[in-house]
């Protein structure tokens, strides 16, 4: 569910980083205004707690597969949306560095996908209204399930959008959705149950923890937050689309994505084999006829048989191959030499 650098384009990556950094700044400022000093160590240690908890897996009944905790919702209930967002952002940052989960450019997307939607959308707009005053276990369960599912669906959809806007994949929109959304529906349901379970446990053992947090998460903030959030999402999509449009002047495949939205180009028909089967799946799942993100290189050169991207001829390719191998050999050779030299010195 984490985005990876290799699937991103600079435009999408930088745009989402801008949105994430802006939100971090906003949340920090908002938090500082009413911050209870006790929250400072609490947030940090809860971040470590979420990190450690995510490493514990449990088996999901009936499926035999294992699940993990997300944590965004629990944090939002316990700390309020701003603090929860900062904690999630810090957890994801540590994961990006120590686990290389996705990469540094993708971190901006990941914080957005796994932090904004649970904390600033699912929590204020779904959890809080449904959970009410937090005393009924049933309402908490419903609220947790609903917000868990919605939060994760939004996050998964976001990943699909980011990947497709980046244009490095040939996966059609519908197929990608079909792969991502159902899985994350299941994950969302499990997360909802776990969230409700933990809240219930904490309420039974130390109810004052929950009561104090409930009072510090002002509902009024949720309303203006929603406007801000809608603004951010719209900005991200518009900017991403606009930048992609500019980038479509370059032969890196994004033009195909945008062109697809207008439904102008088509894949040359493939009659047999896997592509045909997948195309039929794709056609069945596409919610706009003719809508799908297809490899752009094919359309302009649909008439040619041979190379499908510009400026490739056998001569250059061979030189390129030779040069490529040499470059790799030199690069790794330098590394090996440095280590050998250092080894001799320290031996």
């Amino acid at each position: 569910m984490h985005m990876a650098d290799a699937l991103l384009s600079p435009a999408v990556g930088v745009t989402f980083w801008a949105g994430t950094i802006g939100t971090i700044g906003y949340a920090s400022k908002k938090l500082k205004e009413h911050l209870d000093d006790r929250k400072i160590p609490l947030m940090g240690v809860l971040g470590a707690f979420i990190f450690a908890s995510q490493m514990i897996n449990f088996s999901i009944p009936g499926t035999g597969s294992s699940g993990h905790l997300g944590g965004g919702m629990i944090l939002a209930v316990l700390l309020g949306p701003h603090a929860a967002f900062l904690v999630m952002a810090s957890v994801l940052t540590v994961q990006a560095l120590f686990f290389a989960d996705g990469g540094l450019l993708a971190l901006g997307c990941n914080i957005w996908n796994l932090g904004i939607y649970p904390c600033f959308v699912a929590y204020p707009l779904i959890y809080k209204p449904l959970a009410g005053d937090g005393r009924s276990a049933q309402r908490i369960l419903v609220a947790s399930l609903a917000s868990g599912i919605v939060g994760l669906q939004m996050g998964a959809f976001s990943v699909v959008l980011q990947t497709l806007l980046s244009g490095k994949t040939a996966l059609p929109f519908g197929t990608f959705l079909l792969m991502m959304q159902p899985i994350h529906l299941a994950i969302g349901i499990v997360e909802g149950f776990v969230t409700a379970g933990v809240i219930h446990y904490v309420r039974a053992a130390r109810p004052e923890i929950l009561d104090s947090s409930a009072s510090t998460a002002p509902l009024a903030a949720g309303i203006s937050l929603r406007n801000v959030l809608i603004g951010f999402v719209a900005l991200a999509i518009v900017t991403g689309g606009a930048l992609s449009w500019f980038a479509s002047a370059h032969p890196d495949g994004l033009e195909g994505s945008i062109a697809k939205v207008t439904g102008k180009r088509e894949l040359p028909e493939q009659e047999h084999g896997i592509p045909a089967a997948l195309k039929s799946v794709q056609e069945k799942t596409a919610f706009l006829p003719g809508y799908g993100f297809k490899p752009p290189a094919n359309e302009p050169k649909a008439k040619k048989e041979a190379p499908s991207w510009p400026a490739v001829d056998a001569g250059t390719s061979l030189s390129g191959l030779i040069g490529g191998v040499l470059v790799l050999a030199v690069a790794f050779g330098i590394g090996w030499l440095i280590r050998a030299f250092r080894g001799k010195n320290t031996a």
């Binding site: 984490h2 809860l46 088996s59 120590f98 933990v198 495949g253």
Partner: protein, 269 residues
């Protein structure tokens, strides 16, 4: 990855980050900026570009060699986190079957080329990220981020998280071990037990936070976590960023492998 494996992986990376080599001594800001530049330039390559990416391997290779980071360790970590990228990328050959000649007489579907591009970009970007943390202690990175403008509140969160990361992981590991020792097969590892484990850990965490807060108050804490360091950028740091930036720009816009290959062929007659 099992809990224990993940824990020791992080531990090793963490210990590596405190070593003292020429790379470790570079200012964290310089390394963060250079790495981000690297990643952005690498992913800016078009979908089907593979060979022109090869010169970029010099960056992680040099960082690893000069920083005395074991290559196999990094390589293994790159492989371990590759599933999602591979999973998405593997569909490229399926959905992009138009053929392309990559060498005289050899042709392959364009999808395989774009898949290869994804893999190479993945190896480059992930190894660069790992080498950043392997050659810069996490607190160092945080201090660098603070100097680069990130809010102080967020940075102090990162630092607290890092400080108690290993403490919490150990606590969690103890509980998980206890659970595993007492569950024979899958019965014990279900959702209910998980919820109880997480709930208990959570309460212990809250209690710990209260004790920490008490210790902070006892030493005069009034709301702002004080910091003292004022490290200035040195010429070597600026040189590093400049040199790296120029190298990335060069390799981005000049097809180095092609040129070298052509040169070799001309020399070979």
């Amino acid at each position: 990855m099992s809990f224990e494996a993940a824990y020791s992986g992080i531990g090793r990376l963490d210990r590596l980050s405190y070593r003292d080599t020429v790379v470790h001594r570079l200012d964290p800001r310089a390394k963060v900026v250079a790495t981000l530049l690297f990643v952005v330039v690498v992913v800016s390559f078009p979908k089907y570009e593979v060979l022109s990416l090869f010169p970029f391997f010099l960056f992680p290779v040099l960082m690893a060699a000069l920083g005395d980071i074991p290559a196999g360790f990094i390589a293994k970590k790159v492989v371990v986190v590759s599933p999602f990228a591979v999973f998405v990328g593997i569909f490229n050959p399926l959905f992009d079957p138009s053929t392309v000649a990559i060498a005289p007489g050899v042709s392959v579907s364009a999808g395989w080329v774009s898949f290869a591009s994804i893999l190479v970009k993945f190896a480059l970007t992930i190894s660069a990220a790992l080498l950043l943390i392997a050659t810069t202690s996490f607190p160092g990175i945080c201090r660098g981020l603070r100097r680069l403008g990130l809010p102080a509140l967020f940075v102090s969160q990162l630092l607290f998280l890092y400080r108690y990361l290993f403490v919490l992981m150990e606590e969690a590991m103890r509980v998980v071990r206890a659970r595993d020792m007492r569950s024979f097969g899958k019965r014990g590892a279900g959702v209910r037990v998980f919820v109880r484990i997480v709930g208990t850990l959570f309460l212990r965490t809250v209690e710990r936070a209260e004790r920490i807060y008490g210790a902070m108050l006892a030493r005069g804490f009034r709301g702002d976590v004080p910091s003292m360091r004022r490290e200035a950028l040195r010429p070597s740091d600026a040189f590093f960023v400049l040199a790296a930036g120029c190298f990335f720009a060069l390799c981005r816009f000049v097809p180095v492998p092609q040129m070298i290959g052509r040169l070799v062929r001309e020399l070979a007659g």
